[in-house]
Amino acid sequence: MSLLLATLAIGFVFAVLTLGVFLSFRVYRIPDITADGSFPLGAAVTARLLKEGWDPWSATAAAIAAGILAGMITGSIHVRFKINAILSGILVMTALYSVNLRVMGASNLPIDASRTVFAPLESLSGRIFGESVQLFGRTVPSVDLGMFLGTAFAAVLVGVALTWFLHTELGSAMRATGDNPRMVRALATSTDRMIIIGLAASNALIACAGSLFAQMQSFADAQMGIGVIVLGLASVILGQTLVGPVRSIGLAVAGAVMGALLFRLLVAIAIRLGLDANDLKLVTAVVVLVAIVGPTWLAARRPRARKEAARAAA
């Protein structure tokens, strides 16, 4: 049970990351590789500032600011120098590796677990529930429950805020930039500015996820960003598959969050399968594939669906 709560907590933090990737990939169709650098950037900034004695909220905010900066740099390189978006991301990601080492002053910084944004929730949960809670007949440490609730709140908050933002005038312009840049330019709006703002917002979320993740695991590590963009893309696409082709922003956002949760759950199941240590990623890939393909395949075999398909074909 505590494994489930911990997995969901990681899933919610990765949902924030996924929403960041969602913004760049779904809205702008750019797989923004900056994520591999901005995720550990958020962690590094937070760890360093907490070490310097900052309070956790300011340290998290600073991490988000650092993410914004990283995204703006990627966006600027892309639009000002007309460099391919993927290469821009690679350049910034590469540079951020050194920046992160500089920020931390080491390749790895521990974080005092009692001084994180989750600490008040953990202790509150401890005060309300005592040392441990009974959930579905299983004993769960109350701190796990606190962490779960905290990350769930953060993910929902970010999801709602993002939905709201994409409905604002600026957000609509951004979506339009992704969908039909020529029309946006015809309306005398700068697509370049929209791309820079979009990538800044995207990396803000990713850095925020990095910051939350570092606080959750109590350390930041220079190598923690490796493959993050791939995980984010996988979650986005998994979510897209879950909800199907939708026009509603809210549903797409919810799909991305669900994709992140499901991905982490499937990794946890792969871990629990108790296979050879070397096979983790292979098993993860297969499990995710089954999760995506399985339901569609089942649905296609349902007679009603077949009938509908036949009617559509006719």
């Binding site: 790895n108 590590d221 946890a268 240590a277 983790l280």
Partner: protein, 680 residues
């Protein structure tokens, strides 16, 4: 709105299903809480005669009472040659080749066969050897001159022949001739006979002897003796005679000749006076010595003594009418059969083991808490590097040496996060939930993830350069209460000694390092600090990938270093040949810190072996599983340093080893590089 919710349904169902699967996999609370030690023991006996079976039973009972038994998860191999000396030799050879904690032999032939076969010196405890000197093991304490191998301990169980003959003389004052059969090939029997002859002579009767080398011959020999006219027959400690005892006694009784034996249990089959060893008690005494050795007493500390817990049984029905029945003798019998009624039994106490063994036992500290049965050990690494592989190999090998066998008496579970930081945290959470007995993180991120999740049970880390920096405590001694482990540390002082000996005027050395690797940065800083004390400057250039090493080393060399002293990290571990090549081009020697460095082009290496770090964590793990509080165990530093050299390269660079260094050079060949490619 409703349509929107239906869109979310599939995702929600899948999430719920995956969650349910995870909750159902929560097996916490299914732990087996039995606790006991884990040993691998063999018991070798020559045949199945009753006394040996009794002794073995006593032995196993004693060991079981000390928590060593098959039920407790220990492996106890019972081998019985069933009287065949050839088989005995094969069995001894087989046992000598196995990885055992202890071999126990019962009987003289089994003991001798094992001593001959035991080339590797597996600890060996013997029992039921009537005369150790006759078997080549002198009585008394072990000394370097002694022919007794230092891995052997036991005690002599010479049968009480004098007291038996005295009892016989007391019952039959007119006795003139006593017959016995024995096998000259059996030192035990020979020793008994030698004593028997002396005692018989002193008591004024003659001992008629006949030889029999197998059961048939024994019966024939007994018939011969009976035909020559004897007043009594003596069954002594000879394996063949024992095997034929029933027949021999029947023949004797048919001839009207009473039988006396050194085997108290023989009252049942018609032995008249039976004074001899209490075999279950001898088995227990053997068990005491086995216990000493299992608890770490060197076998050579055990003094070889004669010790025979004996008891007397009398079968008055087997007494000839002419014999007397002295009251003192009858009173000292533990069992006496007189007529049709049930035998009279009396219990007579005797000590548990030879006095010197009991003294050693008393000196041992109270028994440490035993390890849990089938301990569950959870290991996790952030990724698999060459350093990890070495440490893991050392860890697993040492665990095996300590008696842990994965899948048999312990469960060893390794998870590799494969560089996925989120998976690392999920693994830590799974370990936290799974009620493993102890969690073993390799690499700094793994330690940190585990520290966050696992609070209620011991953590024994491995392969950590700076555990204090990772947040495991304030110092190597003052640390988190549930944490201990083995630290990796290079032998900086050792390398400085070498540097000063071979290049006394060196002022500037260089290395590449990997800023992204926690251990690499720590090493660089430690090496810089150690060199600074000697007034030597360290030039370091970053290389985060093996492909960046040539440029990094070129940059180092460009700053005027005299020797490349390449610190050990994952990047240089896989790219060491590149380091050596770059230095070669500039004509500079490379000194390394890993065992493999020399085979990859280093001139010499002052190395700590990551295998030792892994082995150290296995040792700490064992201590923790045995109940020691991790809080009191300081983080363990490696101690062993090897100096590997490439003679050709030494000559090439004109480096002369001082005689002191020459003496330190590790003779064994440096291990080959994990990756292909030499330095040239």
């Amino acid at each position: 709105m409703l349509a929107g919710l239906r869109r979310l349904l599939l995702g929600l169902i899948l999430i719920a299903a995956a969650s349910a699967a995870l909750v159902l996999s929560d097996r916490s609370g299914q732990r087996n809480d039995l606790r006991s030690p884990i040993e691998r023991i063999a018991v070798l006996q020559i045949n199945s005669i009753q006394s040996f079976e009794d002794a073995r039973r006593g032995l196993l009972e004693h060991l079981a009472a000390r928590g060593v038994s098959a039920e407790d998860g220990d492996e106890i191999i019972l081998l019985n040659a069933e009287g065949d000396v050839g088989t005995l030799g094969q069995m001894a050879t087989q046992l000598a080749g196995e990885d055992l904690d202890l071999v126990i032999t019962l009987s003289t032939p089994a003991t001798q066969a094992m001593i001959r076969a035991n080339q590797r010196g597996t600890p060996h405890v013997f029992g039921l050897v009537a005369s150790p000197p006759a078997a080549g093991i002198p009585l008394g304490a072990w000394s370097p001159e002694s022919p007794r191998p230092r891995n052997v301990a036991g005690f002599g169980t010479m049968q009480p022949i004098g007291p038996l003959f005295e009892a016989l003389r007391a019952c039959a004052p007119s006795l003139r001739r006593v017959g016995c059969v024995w096998n000259p090939a059996e030192p035990n029997a020979e020793a008994s006979v030698r004593i028997g002859r002396e005692v018989a002579a002193s008591l004024g009767f003659e001992l008629l002897e006949a030889n029999g080398a197998n059961v048939t011959e024994v019966v024939t020999a007994a018939d011969v003796l009976l035909s020559r006219g004897i007043d009594a027959f003596w069954i002594l400690a000879d394996t063949n005679v024992l095997a034929a005892a029933q027949t021999v006694i029947t023949r004797c009784r048919q001839a009207g000749v009473p039988v006396v034996t050194n085997f108290p249990a023989m009252w049942e089959i018609g032995g008249a006076i039976n004074l001899g060893a209490d075999y279950p008690a001898m088995g227990r005494a053997t068990g005491v010595i086995a216990e000493l050795v299992l608890r770490g007493v060197p076998p050579s500390d055990v003094e070889i003594e004669d010790f025979v817990p004996s008891w007397l049984s009398i079968n008055l029905d087997a007494f000839p009418r002419s014999w007397r029945r002295p009251k003192a003798l009858l009173d000292s019998a533990s069992i006496m059969l007189d007529g049709a009624g049930p035998p009279i039994e009396r219990s007579i106490e005797s000590p548990l083991a030879p006095p010197s063994a009991l003294a050693l036992l008393a000196d041992l500290p109270p028994v440490a808490a035993p390890r849990p049965a089938r301990p569950r050990i959870a290991a996790v690494t952030y990724n698999r590097t060459s350093n990890f592989e070495d440490a893991w190999e050392g860890f697993v090998t040492e665990l095996r040496r300590l008696g842990y066998r994965d899948g048999e008496n312990c469960e060893l579970d390794l998870k590799d996060a494969q560089l996925d930081i989120a998976a690392l945290n999920t693994i830590a959470a799974a370990f936290a939930q799974d009620r493993h007995d102890v969690v073993v993180p390799f690499t700094t991120p793994a330690l940190q993830a585990v520290l966050r999740k696992v609070k209620d049970r011991p953590i024994v880390f491995s392969l950590i350069g700076d555990a204090v920096g990772a947040g495991a405590g304030r110092s190597n001694e003052d640390h988190l209460p549930n944490v201990t482990g083995a630290i990796v540390a290079a032998d900086w002082e050792g390398m400085i000694r070498v540097l000063k000996a071979v290049a006394p005027n060196v002022r500037r050395v260089g290395t590449a390092f990997a800023p992204g690797e926690a251990n690499s940065v720590i090493y660089r800083d430690q090496w810089r600090a150690a060199l600074a004390k000697e007034g030597i400057e360290l030039v370091s250039v970053a290389a985060d990938r093996p492909t960046e090493l040539p440029e990094a080393i070129d940059a180092v060399i460009a700053q005027g270093v005299e020797i490349v002293t390449q610190i050990s990290d994952v990047v240089s571990g896989s790219g060491f040949p590149a380091v050596a090549k770059a230095a070669d081009r500039a004509g500079l020697p490379v000194f390394g810190f890993t065992p493999a460095a020399v085979s990859q082009g280093a001139t010499l290496a002052v190395s700590r072996d990551y295998r030792e770090v892994g082995a150290n964590s296995a040792i700490l793990l064992d201590r923790v599983l045995r109940g020691e509080d991790p809080k009191g165990i300081p983080f363990m530093l490696p101690t062993r340093t090897d100096l590997f050299v490439d003679r050709e390269r030494l000559e090439e660079f004109g480096i002369r080893l001082t005689p002191e260094l020459e003496a330190l050079v590790t003779q064994r060949e440096a291990p080959a590089a994990p990756t292909a490619g030499g330095g040239r």
